[in-house]
Symmetry: C2
Subunit: 368 residues, 2 copies
């Protein structure tokens, strides 16, 4: 349906290694997508992203629509040019943000009316509107408007699903640009019957790829995993699967083990700005006094710029002094580790030793 | 008196081109020193500084003494290693900060007692103490404790000068590390008789270089210039002259025209974090609505990373959205321009055409 293509290259158990072909280049999967909410991955530049080996980033339709405005971005040549990132971009539909950030929202069968969290102004998203916004932004992969319900509320999920499905059909019909792939979104909370119903409906419409929404928003991990296992059997093998908003090192390993190809999450970048460091063994909080005189790098053997040049003591000083460089250097490290782990996972699948990788990963951490 | 050396290479009128030799490398002068108050030039990394062509940076004794502490920095291998900057560093003595930032200060003949602006704790600086702190930090160029008086208050300056001179003598005696050059500081406000007295006294003690303190803190430009012209005749030609805390593009041109070799100023970096951009023609404030759709770079023909990749519209968006990348990219640009102008000035002196450079500089801007 577009120039977009997904090649499934290898499988190892349920784990999959693939290659996404987009209008702005190829993306090996499994992949972690750094989040660039407002047209920038916070605290780092596009050249930093390239140096880190990031292959695709995510941007948020809701935020860019409100500020600086999708029409302005279109006038300035589209989002790639605006933010000087010439690699692939995926935009979400704004659904999640409207249902989590915007005050005073009213949802109806046709769409959702909400107020801006910036200035309180009133706005309305319909399926056609979010496709038009995403056309203005010009991402390589765009997504359908969906309604995110609390994952354990059955009645709410049942009603939200009806809207999400009707909106998916309308997004499918509104979709025009051949250089943009369109992903459908499967919802249904933690309920197997709703997830199955959603997967059958959305795959029946036919999309370039399938996003899994509404997970890891507070429900127990076992329920998340059960949904992923169910969907692994229901989603077509020849299309990429994208687990929305989920992406710690553990999530990558366990998501891939259940057939997921794509991940995004603000956690590695948000943690960084607060002094939180990802390691292979868990997390450390640099604000703790025990690091005040620690001359060691964040992570021994880490090859990132931060770990090869700076001590924990220095980075802690930057965080305590509210220095921008602290946010920058910790962001570099956390993203480096996420991208490295995604590459390691891919390599292990290609080598047919993903199960061993997964076991080693968990025995290094201890099960959390 | 130390391994430090200054070669005066060329003069053109009063303008001077030289070369500082320090324990961490050579520095062509005239030079602009980016300010790294808390052990980081705000919003950029040491590799950014190297890429920009910065040859020496300044750090603040007062700030580093309070946080993370000079003894901690010494334990971690000194300031160069702590902040991963292997080029030359100059530290001020903390005098200016104590007299401008710290509350509850009490000055006496022996030193100054003050409270920390961070946590209110009480501290005391004496000449011997600030030398010891600067030995712990390990900068290549260190400075004497001085008292900064309001520039137009004669009585205050007269009394402060007595202390500043006594403290200079004691700093000279306390100075030990052969790998650290020690600069004396000339004070005396806007008063020719006090400045002359101070220059004679401080040069009589004999230092590796001479700093000029207490200028550009609110007095009219003509008075600043008159002091510089006076000092140009009083300071030895074979030692570097450093105009403390002064460094806009105009200041560089006019300071060099009056015999100054070294400059530092927080203005280019501080402005950047607020959306202020240095250009060859003055300044622009990116918050202004007129830049919302402006696809042009900050400065046509500028070769910095920011100007070669991003539009004013995008940079304005970053600043309005409080994105860290905005502060980073504007800092890169403002420092690039300061460093370029310093290099252009040096080249013009070496070519014997500084007067023409100065005239072209002003006719491009219009006199402000």
């Amino acid at each position: 349906m577009t120039a977009f293509r997904f090649d499934l290259i290898a499988t190892d158990g349920q784990a999959r290694a693939g290659l996404l072909h987009t209008s702005h280049g190829d993306v090996p999967t499994p992949v972690f997508m750094p989040v660039g909410t407002q047209g920038t991955v916070k605290a780092i530049s596009p050249r930093d992203l390239k140096d880190l080996g990031a292959r695709i980033i995510l941007s948020n339709t809701y935020h860019l629509y409100l500020r600086p405005g999708d029409e302005r971005i279109a006038r300035l040549g589209g989002l790639h040019r605006f933010m000087a990132w010439d690699g692939p971009i995926l935009t979400d539909s704004g659904g999640f943000q409207v249902f989590s950030l915007a005050p005073m929202r009213r949802v109806d069968a046709d769409g959702v009316t909400f107020r801006s969290h910036i200035d309180g102004s009133e706005h309305r998203f319909t399926p056609e509107k979010v496709i038009a916004i995403q056309e203005n932004l010009g991402a390589d992969i765009i997504t359908c408007l969906d309604e995110c319900a609390p994952p354990t509320d059955y009645e709410y999920n049942l009603q939200a699903l009806e809207r999400t499905h009707a909106w998916a059909r309308r997004c499918r019909e509104a979709h025009r640009r051949a250089d943009q792939a369109l992903f459908g979104i499967v919802q249904g909370g933690v309920f197997p019957d709703l997830r199955e119903q959603s997967a059958r409906f959305i795959t029946g419409l036919g999309f370039d790829g399938y996003a899994i929404g509404g997970l890891s928003v507070g429900e127990p991990k076992e329920q998340t995993y059960a949904v992923l296992e169910l969907l692994d059997n229901l989603l077509p093998a020849d299309r990429p699967r994208y687990l929305m908003g989920v992406g710690t090192p553990q999530d990558l390993v366990e998501g891939v083990a259940r057939g997921v190809d794509m991940f995004d999450c603000v956690l590695p970048t948000r943690m960084a700005r607060n002094g939180g460091v990802l390691t292979r063994h868990g997390r450390i909080n640099l604000r703790n006094a025990c690091y005040a005189d620690d001359p060691s790098p964040l992570l021994p053997d880490c090859t990132c710029y931060t770990c090869t040049h700076f001590s924990r003591a220095y980075l802690r000083h930057l965080i305590l002094a509210n220095e921008i460089l602290g946010a920058h250097l910790l962001t570099l490290h956390n993203l480096h580790l996420m991208l490295i782990i995604a590459r390691e996972i891919r390599d292990s699948i290609l080598a047919g030793r993903f199960a061993a990788y997964r076991e080693a990963f968990w025995s290094a951490r201890g099960h959390e």
